[in-house]
Amino acid sequence: MAVKKEAHHKYRVVGTRPIRPDGIEKVTGRALYGADYYFPGMLFGKILRSPYAHARIKSIKFDKALKLPGVRAIVTADDLPEADRKPQQMGEQQVSPYYLSCNVLARGKVLYDGHPVAAVAATSPHIAEEALRLIEVDYEPLEPVMTADEAMKPGAPILIDDLRNQEEGPDQPTNVATHLQFKRGDLAAGFDAADCVIEREFRTATVHQGYIEPHASVGIWNPDGHATVYTCTQGSFTVRTLATKVLGMPEGNLKVVPSEIGGGFGGKTTIYCEPIALLLAKKTGHPVKVTMSRSEVLRATGPTSGIHERVKIGVTKEGRITAAQVWMAYEAGAFPGSPMAPGAMTVITSYDIPNLLIDGYDVVVNRPKTCAYRAPGATAAAFGVETVLDELAEQIGIDPLDLRIMNGAHEGTQQPFGPVFKRIGFIETCEALKASEHYNSKLTGANRGRGVAAGFWFNAGFQSSASVYVNQDGTASVVTGSVDIGGSRASMAMIAAEVLGLPIDEVRPVVADTDSIGYTDVTAGSRVTFATGMAVYNAAQDVVRQLKERAAKMWECTPDDVEFDNGVLRTRGDVLQPQQLTLKELAARFIRTGGPVVGRASVSTGGAGAGPAFAAICVDVEVDPDTGKVQILRVTIAQDVGTAIHPSYVEGQLQGGTAQGIGWALNEEYVYDSKGVLRNTGLLDYRMPTCLDLPAIETILVEVPNPTHPLGVRGVGEVSIVPPPAAIANAIYRATGVRMRELPMSPPRLMKALQEHRNSREGQAAAGR
């Protein structure tokens, strides 16, 4: 097949487009995903879920269910130890084991529609399902609290009796888990210095990651207390930490084998089925497979927060932003831990603004506990700021991209929360979009409009381990603990091949289980190619170091006298008479020169700021003025991607994030009834875009190498989801004259706005007469 080499690259393998090493398994149906494991004597587990959004559990009776032929065991929260309440660092997140345990199986109270209450293991999934119908749970329904606004009202029903926060003090029960604030300069003076100040209010809906593979786990429990769980997760080591905490077992006693994963987007960075499968396996002595249905996924896994946002920004008539104030309340779901903090840390970080005040609130409500979703917190936050910037640009009459370029963050800009940006590509990204054929093309036709917006995401770093083994035939295998969710095996193999001077098809990438590689954090935060890639790079360099030592031994010189270039070892000509060996020739002699060569590395690259990424997007829409339906006509996304290791998969990340952002903008939302019961529990009415709803998605890769990575890699996975909702709102305004400030901008909502807009115009016209 054609492998296009990026001309401008100084690399041999990096920047090419080889076939992914795990591709054939995935196009032939041989790859094993979470639900694809079968073991002799395996039982099937199903979970009983609360029909109430908020209720006290008075009693659970399951003797009838136990009598159903084929039923082998039933578990409830009583089968779990009471976990520690104090928050602990687990993988990338701060988690209270107690809250985590209560989310796995409800203890005393149910806090959302779909909250697990009990689980059954039986000889067939149908028998397990029928058994659930025989379990009798006596609930005392309580008043549900569905939005942050309601939950923050004085006297609102309290979800978690012992929840407190620093401001309200130790004696005040509350639904507000955290208040975060960033402050800089003199806000009042900043707004006084502005010629134009706009303040607006926004709301966004709860939306789900929408990965196509429902959660699935198989638990196996040995009599000696050692256990194994096969599961689809973004982080096998995170599952090990979280599951052992909830089950009260030593971490070393659990082996987590990550299956191939059918999408996650952040939603598979915690545990749901895993501890239940293990608990049922322990109780029955059989392997137990627990799989979720789609409605269980939507009702009871972790979507991302709906938010309420207020944005106030001031600019001079020349277009200089003088001050900005943002207030945001995030719905965390049933337990603390919304993405409010990253939302507050990204909301206006793309811009260099002297005077700032940012307030963020993390609020519990009777919805499922939120989990990470691609650039967590950033998309909802950017919706407000990026539409207000569009209004300001219009008011002072400058190009909306110019406004962003003029105020754009650059190397040396201090972020609102402290650190100073190193080399970043925000301005280059906006300029690339401004120069694009799309942005400069003419958009004609009635009810059509073009909008732009930008977005920022930090990209996480965290910890990764890698090993590189050189085989005696000179091929190599690369072992990491990073689950491959979108083609990272290819990137890992390419990085090792680049360093070792091997052809890509002679490097085999392996994703290992938790017993077979050093600790590695979740595949999340766009960190794998960055951090695990760095570990692979270092492990390959470790191999090169050892190869030089071997050669030096054979040539009776020092390793410093040996050069390694493109798979060939040479003596420095200037030092002694020329000698050379290829890696292959040396590998064949490993046995006689000291045994196998194994390269190892581990990295810890820190939390925020590991290769910040920026995206800017241009969208053309057409609005049906009679129905309020929006059609996306054309979309182009530009993103600062650092060095693109495999450009095709980088483009894929930009396209995928853009598509999710479009779904978030137009039709995706959780619809609850007045009692807090989720109405749209399937993919018929949780409306993700089909390929008939989207145009081709044009991408512009802006390669501004990341100075903190040996190959200049930046995370590329997330930021593309951030700008689309605001860009589409801005395009709708150009098409119709209506500013949408609530997501999703679904036909009923947009139609209502269009009618109000027409009525008000007629009103004005009438008054004018």
């Binding site: 992914r20 032939t28 593979e213 998969y649 995928g656 018929l684 008939l692």
Partner: protein, 157 residues
């Protein structure tokens, strides 16, 4: 164990006799009874297309058909798409165009795309998008999938 029924069918040109419960979907029969796990479950309501197989050449959601209804029909699944060691052109093009990221929707897309190309060997982009609208992909935004199908048609057409 509930009463099981004998079903005679043809899967990927192989005659197959199997026993299943009437309440088992064809998807369950393929996966839980035959361990043919290439056909995936995404929703069990016919909204995602991950479980798409061909029944007498027509694309069908195997989650919305009972196993017993397969009696006497010809089934095609992802496991039968490649002929021996030779990948189907669609499989090759999906790899070349990087049309899969997580890969869970890929078998369903490949089977829907096969049904399309069997019916319309040289489809337009609009026809491709229409015929694949019953398959959801959350990773790719569809762009590279559509390109792969058009390229496969171009090559074989």
């Amino acid at each position: 164990m509930a009463k099981r029924t004998l079903v005679e069918t043809v899967i990927n040109n192989e005659p197959v006799e199997l026993l299943c419960e009437p309440r088992q979907s064809l998807l369950e029969v393929l996966r839980d009874e035959l361990h043919m796990t290439g056909t995936k479950e995404g929703c069990l309501t016919g909204d995602c297309g991950a479980c798409t197989i061909l029944v007498d050449g027509r694309p069908v959601c195997s989650c919305l058909m009972l196993g017993v209804e397969a009696q006497g029909h010809k089934l095609e699944t992802i496991e039968g798409l490649a002929t021996g060691a030779e990948l189907h052109p669609l499989q090759r093009k999906f790899l070349e165009h990087a049309s899969l990221q997580c890969g869970i929707c890929t078998p369903g897309f490949l089977m829907s795309a096969k049904a399309l190309l069997d019916k319309i060997p040289r489809p337009t982009e609009a026809e491709v998008r229409y015929h694949l609208a019953g398959n959801l992909c959350r990773c790719t935004g569809y762009d590279k999938i559509v390109r792969a199908v058009l390229d496969a048609a171009r090559e074989s057409g």
